[in-house]
């Protein structure tokens, strides 16, 4: 009996590896080939010469330079990290909210859904650059932003009022940050919203029926059915938002890395990017670890 179970497990492991095989091939023969050179740069001194470059091994010199001698790297790193704390919850909550709205039935849904997909098409391309370099368009946007600054000026008065009312200063500054960056945040929720929409679509209506028959209100339905059923995709969105914020070419660290590349300081640029990726990796590993722990304990609670 025990022996046959082992063979089933072995067979399952073999099948699993077969399914993952394309990725193994791609990773080793395409991805690794492309990144090994950049990784070699980290531990080398690279000097350009006509028609190529020379490199020789220098150990940890580049890495120690960026952490101890570079004036901006640590500062930029902290700035990027702290912007993450603001962005992730806001993007997740906003995109889930819009996905639920778009999932309900109303007139003109096709049109509104098409419009909500526009940021995905426009913001990921060169189109945004062209629009931003267009003086007429930017003046039109600026006039709407002028509106925004008056609103935020008002909200500044509101901020001090809220602080006077006894709300924590941190909480208030958090919300005023959100309201002043709403325009930017709206452009960033497109991907997450569509992932949520797909997740909501795959919840079987019979679950809602069952819980409604048991007497659950819409609010309880949301917490007892919608949230647990979309949990896997919430995780995907958290991971995606973290990666998107970190690798956004507009953030401080990425700008610094890009400027090093354009200065032909390949070794330092590579060292910087790898240190940065490692850090991103640690953050993601932490998120995934915590989520898998909570999942497991929830499952255990469910069984008990």
């Amino acid at each position: 009996m025990k022996k046959s179970k082992l063979t089933i497990e072995r067979r399952k492991a073999r099948n699993g590896r077969l399914f993952v095989l394309p990725f193994y091939f791609g990773f080793i023969f395409i991805f690794l080939r492309c990144i090994y050179q950049s990784l070699a740069f980290v531990f080398s001194d690279v000097t350009l010469r006509p028609g190529g470059f020379d490199m020789h091994f220098v150990g940890m010199k580049n890495l120690s330079y960026i952490f101890t001698k570079d004036p901006d790297f640590n500062k930029n790193l902290v700035a990027t990290m702290s912007s993450l704390l603001y962005k992730v919850p806001v993007v997740i909550i906003a995109s889930l909210f819009f996905a639920i709205l778009l999932n309900s039935k109303f007139k003109g849904r096709t049109f509104v859904r098409a419009v909500f997909f526009l940021p995905v098409i426009i913001a990921s391309g060169v189109i945004m650059d062209i629009i931003n370099s267009d003086t007429f368009a930017t003046s039109l946007i600026a006039s709407s932003e002028g509106m925004e600054t008056t609103v935020s000026a008002n909200s500044y008065g509101l901020t001090s009022l809220l602080i006077d009312m006894g709300l924590g200063e941190k909480i208030v500054s958090y919300f005023s940050y959100i309201s002043s960056n709403l325009y930017d945040l709206m452009w960033r929720t497109g991907i997450q919203m569509i992932i949520f929409l797909a997740a909501l679509q795959s919840i079987s209506p019979s679950l809602y029926e069952a819980s409604s028959i048991e007497g659950a209100s819409a609010w309880e339905n949301f917490w007892m059915v919608t949230i647990p059923m979309t949990m896997p995709m919430i995780l995907v969105n958290v991971v995606y938002t973290i990666i998107d914020t970190f690798t956004d070419s507009a953030n401080e660290v990425m700008k610094q890395i890009a400027s090093y590349f354009t200065d032909h300081q390949y070794a330092r640029a590579s060292a910087m990017s790898w240190a940065y990726f490692l850090l991103v990796g640690i953050v993601l590993a932490l998120v995934l670890f915590v989520s898998s722990r909570t999942n497991r304990s929830e499952r255990r609670n469910g069984k008990a």
Binding site: G16, F19, V115, I122, Q201, S202
Partner: protein, 322 residues
């Protein structure tokens, strides 16, 4: 009777109506934010280049002229550029769909020793932005060797080339996509993994008991249920391949895809003597640029409008009863 009715209206109907009004206003506001660039593109693109600086016009042009769009089609070499882009986007999307659904299913449903490490590597492929490995990717694809096999064969039979140059071909996008390391493939693998792991196991077990092997179970039982994940990945992959500029500007030196052409449009206009940096201001070519933008976003937008209706067909009857 009457009081009951008013009470009913107040308690039940009023919040619903307020909610509907709120939702409507929210949609109007957000639609304006998102539609702004597109409306702007349309408004500018249908003007003739001479009338673009008419100060009395903000949104609605005085006369409609398609001359800017016609010029943009010619300057961008639109049919050729679109053909390349479609090949990249369709090939890359299909490749990603096949490989990422397989890999995602493997991660979701099977246990093997190195699974967690392998999944960490998947995440690694999305953390590293393509910009940082661009140069070595270029070298890799310039003399592409099929997993070291070609060099080996070349040693035995000299008529076989030792490497294949893939630069300027759409294979630079399709090949990594087929092997699950294409443009943001890691994200698609993750989406599929999460999607499959959220599905009930009953159907697979039933299929296994009926004598289905793992691959057939995947194709015939699981894939049809993953429709919304497939649509999501299809849309993202298509749009990102369509819009990619960073990699395609590196891999293509002729017959470039539309995003690269659009980026170069100003200098292309200059070459065609339609624009002169010295004598004219960038405002004068605005109609051409916006026409180019409009031509670029139109195909993926049409694709989205056609595919989004699949989102509304939820999997209400998945076959699991009771």
């Amino acid at each position: 009777m009457n009081t009951v009715k008013t009470e009913y209206l107040l308690k039940r109907k009023a919040p619903e109506i307020i909610w509907k009004i709120f939702r409507f206003l929210l949609f109007v506001g957000i639609c304006y934010i998102f539609l702004f660039p597109v409306l702007y593109m349309i408004s500018i693109a249908v003007r003739s280049p001479e009338t673009v600086n008419d100060p009395s016009v903000i949104w609605i042009p005085r006369g409609i002229s398609f001359s800017s769009i016609k010029t943009a089609v010619k300057i961008l070499n639109y049919p050729r550029a679109i053909l390349t882009t479609v090949l990249i986007a369709v090939g890359g999307t299909l490749g990603s769909l096949i490989s990422c659904s397989l890999v995602g299913y493997g991660f979701a449903r099977f246990n093997f020793k190195e699974k967690n490490i392998a999944f960490a590597l998947v995440i690694l492929t999305i953390i590293v932005p393509p910009q940082t490995v661009l140069i070595s990717s270029f070298i890799n694809y310039r003399n592409f060797d099929v997993f070291g096999i070609l060099t080996l064969l070349h040693g035995i039979i000299p008529s076989i080339p030792s490497n294949i140059p893939l630069i300027n071909t759409t294979w630079t996008f399709v090949l990594p996509a087929v092997f699950g390391v294409g443009l943001r493939s890691g994200l698609y693998i993750y989406i599929f993994r999460q999607f499959f792991s959220g599905m009930p196991k009953d159907l697979e077990e039933a299929a296994m008991i009926d004598g289905c092997n793992a691959f057939r179970t995947f194709v015939q039982v699981m894939l049809p249920l993953a429709k919304s994940a497939i649509i999501t990945v299809l849309l993202f992959s298509f749009v990102w391949h369509w819009n990619d500029y960073v990699q395609s500007s590196m891999y293509f030196s002729s017959g470039q895809p539309i995003s690269v052409m659009l980026k170069q449009m100003q200098s292309l206009l200059q070459d065609a003597k339609l624009f002169d940096v010295v004598t004219s201001t960038p405002d004068e070519i605005r109609t051409y640029l916006q026409a180019g933008c409009l031509l670029t976003i139109l195909p993926p937008l049409v694709l989205y409008i056609f595919t989004q209706r699949f989102f509304t067909e939820s999997i209400e009857r998945t076959g699991i009863v009771g």
